[in-house]
């Protein structure tokens, strides 16, 4: 209940901000090979600046109050806390080795990291900058997310081909679901009822029911002129009303638009090369994708479902976070 009020307040604040300034958001993109963070103004469609951030930055997230960025600098074996306005480094979190992907809980006081080389998920108390627990999971954990109702922490193991359902209260695995080969990313629907998981090798998206932890639907893709083995889904996001889901198809260089009610693939949008991660604008009218090989991000207008612009950002754009 408390949560809903909080979300209500947040939405209201958001709405007022947006009324005052149409699309004033900032897009942050980690540049894996440039050791830097790209700052993009999506309304103008320009790269504002590039800030050095540390070695091999990949995963990125914004704190719920929009004041701090968390950035995994993989080769420094840490997650940095960065001021979202001044880009000053405020601190470091003990992420364990080679952090890549991580997730914040809805309250923003805990951070969960996938440690790929050690088959672990590390739970970190952000305020204390301390490790609370290390959870043993399958081989090469990658995708990680927390359900909006804070019930489940999800860890996806790429090589074990498994979704681990971890209870956030005691940080223990409660259920495991075997999914299609090399699962990459996982996202909950806003109501926490469904978990969408991408499989890079089978070229599918699976929809899991949070109650039963079973796969209720598997979606495949077809892109004319592209063989099936090039279709390698990675990032997935679902809009808050569960109308549409968007899936980055990797080296197929497309984003698939899925009707989240009927699970039909409605359209594929041509973006940059090896599209990887994606994020909504706060009003969910735009979508931003990082394209690993073509070194740019694509800006997608969701009302018209068209790619409006690509902005060159730097070498190997990896993660993306949006600040309202």
């Amino acid at each position: 209940m408390k949560h809903k009020v909080l979300i209500g307040v947040l939405t209201a604040t958001l709405a007022t901000t947006l009324l005052g300034l149409a699309r004033a958001e900032t897009v942050f993109v980690t540049l894996e090979k440039d050791n830097a963070l790209a700052v993009v103004d999506p309304a103008a469609g320009t790269l504002v600046k590039t800030v050095p951030i540390g070695q091999r930055p990949r995963g990125i997230a914004l704190s719920p109050d929009n004041k701090q960025l968390y950035i995994a600098t993989s080769d420094e074996n840490t997650i940095k806390i960065v001021d979202a306005n001044s880009f000053k480094i405020l601190g470091k979190l003990p992420s364990g080795e080679d952090p890549e992907t991580f997730a914040l809980n809805p309250a923003g006081d805990k951070l969960y990291v996938s440690n790929e080389d050690d088959s672990l998920v590390t739970v970190i108390d952000i305020a204390k900058k301390k490790v609370i627990k290390k959870i043993k999971v399958g081989v090469e954990p990658e995708g990680i997310t927390v359900s909006p109702d804070n019930k489940w922490l999800i860890s996806v193991s790429e090589t074990t081909n498994m979704v681990h359902w971890i209870n956030t209260k005691n940080n223990t695995i409660e259920a495991n679901t075997l999914v299609d080969p090399r699962p990459r990313a996982a996202s909950f629907t806003a109501d926490s009822q469904q978990l969408w998981v991408t499989s890079e090798m089978a070229g599918t998206v699976m929809i899991l029911d949070s109650q039963t932890q079973q796969v209720i639907k598997t979606i495949s893709f077809e892109v004319s002129g592209i063989t099936n083995d090039k279709i390698q889904p990675v990032g997935v996001v679902i809009d808050k009303d569960r109308n549409r889901a968007y899936v980055a198809l990797g080296p197929a260089n497309r984003v698939a638009v899925i009707n989240a009610k009927t699970f039909e693939v409605e359209k594929v949008l041509l973006v940059g090369q090896r599209v990887w991660n994606l994020a909504f604008s706060p009003d969910q009218k735009h979508l931003y994708t990082t394209n690993g090989v073509s070194n740019d991000i694509s800006l997608i207008d969701l009302d018209t479902q068209t790619v409006t612009k690509s902005v060159g950002v730097g070498t190997y754009p990896w993660g993306v976070a949006i600040k309202p």
């Binding site: 080679d98 790929e116 080389d117 088959s119 399958g138 081989v139 090469e140 193991s157 790429e158 090589t159 074990t160 081909n161 498994m162 681990h164 495991n176 075997l178 080969p181 090399r182 890079e200 090798m201 089978a202 070229g203 063989t227 099936n228 083995d229 090039k230 390698q232 080296p251």
Partner: protein
């Protein structure tokens, strides 16, 4: 457990308690104990066991052309071990227990004896790291008929064609696949005129055959072919000899070398008469694995392997890893450990395995060859990954490499 069933047991349990006859009472108590306890404990301990054998024979160390690369005696073993580790991490969640037993036959030992005595009857899956002739001998043993041999030692095209065996799957790319990968890249670069240098060994000639086949397939021209003879100490005279050896009136773009044992190929670069790049078994090589490879999550397995084995992962290690992972994946998906359903699944369209090379791996149902990308690597840089963009295929672009179904001479299903 079904609550209804439990209450029925309780009813039976209470009634005979009043009887004074000891044997009857004991019998019922035992019965009840069996019903209540046995299924639970059975669930806890009866993990499905999958035992995999690893068979290899010690090989003599080849003549070293450089002290930079120490001779690795156990190529393959560490890869298989890493594969078992990964299978078991999955098995922890799916109730399967994988084990690997290694059989290293000494140099003067007899592989057939080891196979008949220690492997036959105990294992269904055998990772085999043996040269082509020995692999065929083992595959033809009556005891091997109903086993699955996972070959991680050969690249012979004959074994994937006229000499194919129904009980063998091949993990390493064939010579034809390697040569096709090089040819695709050369075609992209428009380096169409080739000067082919062939070593004196049988394997070198087989590699050269694959190069010639690829040249024909992709419209390359072999303008000149020469055989390298070991008639002198290469290390001392190579400086002058390579220049003389490669002096020719014919115009060529690249020097293609077929020297599988690495006896002279490393000496060609920078010593040719004309300034030309070297490709083939040295220079730019075509391989299924390389230390420069880090894309598609490869860096993770490179790290994990390095931590486990204390050296870089070699092709045979990658092959053994994939062999063990393929069995693991098939067992996990089918929830069966028997050969028939596992092999059917391995050869089906549903099977796809992550090989850290960007494209899902599967087996070609017509010859048992692992369908895979080929890395084109220079000693310290990954140059390209084949199939090269633009080489199209109606089913899978991976099948632009090597013998495609219509060309295959393997007719094991007949």
């Amino acid at each position: 457990m079904n609550p209804l069933k439990l209450s029925t047991i309780n009813l039976y349990y209470q009634q005979p308690m009043r009887l004074t006859q000891w044997p009857y009472q004991t019998f019922v108590i035992l019965l009840v104990l069996f019903q209540v306890v046995a299924p639970k404990s059975a669930q806890a301990i009866s993990k499905q066991a999958i035992n995999i054998a690893y068979l290899t024979q010690e090989q003599p160390a080849p003549v070293a052309s450089s002290n930079l690369d120490p001779f690795i005696k156990d190529k393959g073993v560490s890869g298989a071990e890493l594969g078992i580790d990964d299978d078991n991490t999955t098995g922890e969640f799916t109730g399967q227990l994988f084990s690997l037993k290694k059989f290293m036959v000494p140099l003067d030992g007899n592989v057939t004896d080891t196979f008949n005595k220690e492997i036959s009857g105990h294992f269904q899956y055998v990772v085999v790291n043996l040269p082509a002739a020995q692999l065929t001998t083992v595959a033809d043993l009556p005891a091997a008929k109903d086993l699955l041999l996972l070959d991680i030692g050969t690249s012979d095209d004959a074994l994937r064609n006229e000499a194919c065996r129904k009980n063998v799957l091949h993990l390493l790319p064939s010579r034809a696949m390697r040569a096709d990968a090089l040819a695709q890249y050369m075609m992209k670069k428009r380096w169409n005129q080739w000067f082919l240098v062939v070593g004196p060994n049988l394997e070198d000639r087989l590699y050269a055959d694959a190069i010639k086949r690829a040249a024909k397939r992709f419209g390359m021209k072999i303008v000149l072919e020469k055989t390298w003879e070991h008639t002198y100490d290469a290390r001392r005279t190579v400086q002058s000899d390579v220049a003389v050896f490669t002096q020719t009136e014919d115009a060529y773009d690249v020097l293609v070398v077929a020297d599988e044992q690495g006896q002279f190929g490393e000496y060609l670069d920078y010593r040719t008469w004309m300034p030309r790049p070297v490709i083939g078994t040295q220079g730019l090589i075509a391989t299924s694995w390389h230390k420069t490879h880090e894309q598609w999550g490869a860096i993770q397995i490179q790290h994990r392997f390095l931590a486990k084995a204390g050296r870089w992962m070699e092709e045979q290690d990658a092959g053994a890893y994939l062999a063990v992972r393929a069995v693991g994946e098939a067992v996990t998906r089918t929830q069966k450990s028997d050969l028939k359903p596992v092999k059917d699944y391995l050869l089906s369209d549903g099977f796809s395995l992550n090989g850290y090379t960007g494209t899902p791996l599967s087996f070609r149902a017509w010859d048992g060859q692992l369908r895979q990308s080929i890395l084109l690597a220079a000693p310290r840089s990954l140059v390209a990954v084949a199939p090269i963009e633009g080489f199209l295929h109606p089913k899978s672009e991976l099948d632009t490499l090597g013998y495609d179904q219509p060309e295959s001479q393997c007719h094991w299903d007949k």
